[in-house]
Symmetry: C2
Subunit: 308 residues, 2 copies
């Protein structure tokens, strides 16, 4: 699966993921009102607003980027209707030729991780029939439980040609509380990085592995080290934009060939119309503002890589 | 919320959680067939079988135990219909007077954890209306992202009188890969335990805190230490039975007053009818076999606590 992502990154010249994290707050009032007129102020109404909003964003950016990353928590908070919206979003993005990274951060003991892996990347059997519940192309995975919590995902990746990104160093302010603690002279996140490299060797797909890593844009120096610790793992880089990561911070996450990393922006793209820079688009043209924000991000990354 | 759990534990004299992890394999053939006749071999059919199975188990054990713990992965693998079954299971158990621990192991950066917390323990706003999507009483939480990934859950616990159990030392064989690594002379899980104690101080509810911990029955010596590290945190103990934890291993998780721990058994109870010990019940009486398994587990724990 990583080879498909790389192909799309090369074609679009954009190592960019659009984070589809549609808080209701981000969704223009008129879209919410239209959904509430049809479904009432219900969970179904919220879900309808999310689907409508996502589709318009996707229509505006699908030719510019290789992939999207819906954060499932933003859907799960609207209960079952929210999760229907999640699945429909995954389907719609795939129809438009985008790869979908399910930002689910699942992880459990082995037999339970196997169920999560089937839910998100694989298929389940019911009697004689087979279903693919949420059918993302990639999923994010939490490593705290160790190898037997991660390997069931890798098994499904190998069987179904899918990929994962394992949390190594997250973008949030308190990520260092445990992740930065020193063990034998190196921080925990490097030890997790060692495991990602080891796990990744079992799942190579061309020059890179289907086992990637999550490393926050907010920690570029750690990104530089982790780039070397896991040379064959793609790094999914959240934290650009709203969380504080800047274009110049991104260079260390990439290999010399310009590959090896893909940068996520959520709010910065999907709620671009609320920024001063794009305010002239107005709420009505929010999707065009998102398109402009993607183009600006592409330029920002291109400049950062050219300068190094 | 922890005070409600303690009250129920004292009333039932059973520090036991029944793990409602209904793999289709565990569900008697005749229940599956009845569901498939009505809904076909579909995800809806799987969900109907799960709901029917869970209800019969709950009817048979509701007077014996304080709480149940549905593992959401077992539902999520059947997609949206599976998650409908999850929500209906939560509702049914609460109607029968049971507390529900959603074993969801969620955890993310702050704003995302906040959404998970609302999904599982809190309420969301849609326009002028409020909904409680999955409305569990407790949820399990992954600590890898540090305080800002956990605190949004605690905020909701305080607001809504709910509780969490933070993963400290998990029951699986490879849990030691990261959790046991030494940092300043103490394993990572003890440092996580320190944080659980600290977080818990903000959420006291009587003698114990609404911030509890998960420590596997498979690691009783570590349980002994962690019992002291987090004296005010209830410990949710998985791994008893099918995963290898025995009655005698459980004593270290309890305080001298007989409180402080609650032990989960999933397969050992819900699939008891498939064990030699309970085979005489037959598939038809699987729920009675589960009741017998709960009574045996209660006795096993009572003996373990009496011996110390």
């Amino acid at each position: 699966m990583i080879s498909k992502l790389i192909e799309k990154i090369e074609k679009t010249e954009a190592p960019i993921v659009v984070g589809l994290d549609p808080k209701l707050d981000f969704i223009p009032r008129y879209i919410q009102e239209k959904a509430f007129e049809e479904y009432g102020e219900t969970l179904e109404g919220a879900a309808a607003a999310i689907i409508d909003f996502n589709r318009k964003i996707v229509d505006a950016v699908a030719d510019l980027v290789p992939a999207v990353k819906p954060q499932i928590a933003m859907y799960e908070q609207y209960g079952v209707p929210g999760l229907i919206a999640f699945e429909r979003t995954v389907s719609y993005c795939q129809e438009k030729g985008l790869l979908v990274i399910g930002d689910v951060k699942r992880g459990d003991i082995g037999s339970t991780s196997a169920s999560y892996a089937l839910a998100h990347l694989g298929s389940v059997q019911v009697g004689s029939r087979t279903y693919t519940p949420f059918h993302e192309d990639f999923a994010t995975v939490n490593p705290y439980l160790g190898s037997d919590g991660v390997k069931p995902f890798i098994d499904v990746c190998r069987k179904e040609d899918k990929g994962i990104f394992v949390l190594v160093k997250t973008s949030n302010p308190s990520s260092g509380e445990f992740q930065d603690r020193e063990i034998d002279g190196r921080p925990l996140y490097e030890h997790v990085g060692d495991k990602v490299r080891e796990w990744g060797e079992e799942a190579m797909d061309g020059d890179y592995s289907d086992v990637g890593a999550v490393v926050g844009a907010t920690y570029p120096e750690m990104g530089r080290v982790l780039r070397e610790v896991m040379p064959k793992s793609y790094i999914l880089v959240p934290g650009y934009g709203a969380q504080g990561g800047k274009g110049e911070d991104l260079a260390p996450f990439f290999n010399r060939d310009g590959l090896g990393a893909i940068v996520n922006s959520s709010r910065g793209i999907i709620a671009a119309y609320r920024q001063e820079t794009y305010a002239s688009y107005g709420e009505e043209n929010f999707a065009e503002a998102s398109r402009a924000a993607v183009l600006a991000m592409k330029e920002d990354i291109r400049n950062a890589l050219a300068k190094r």
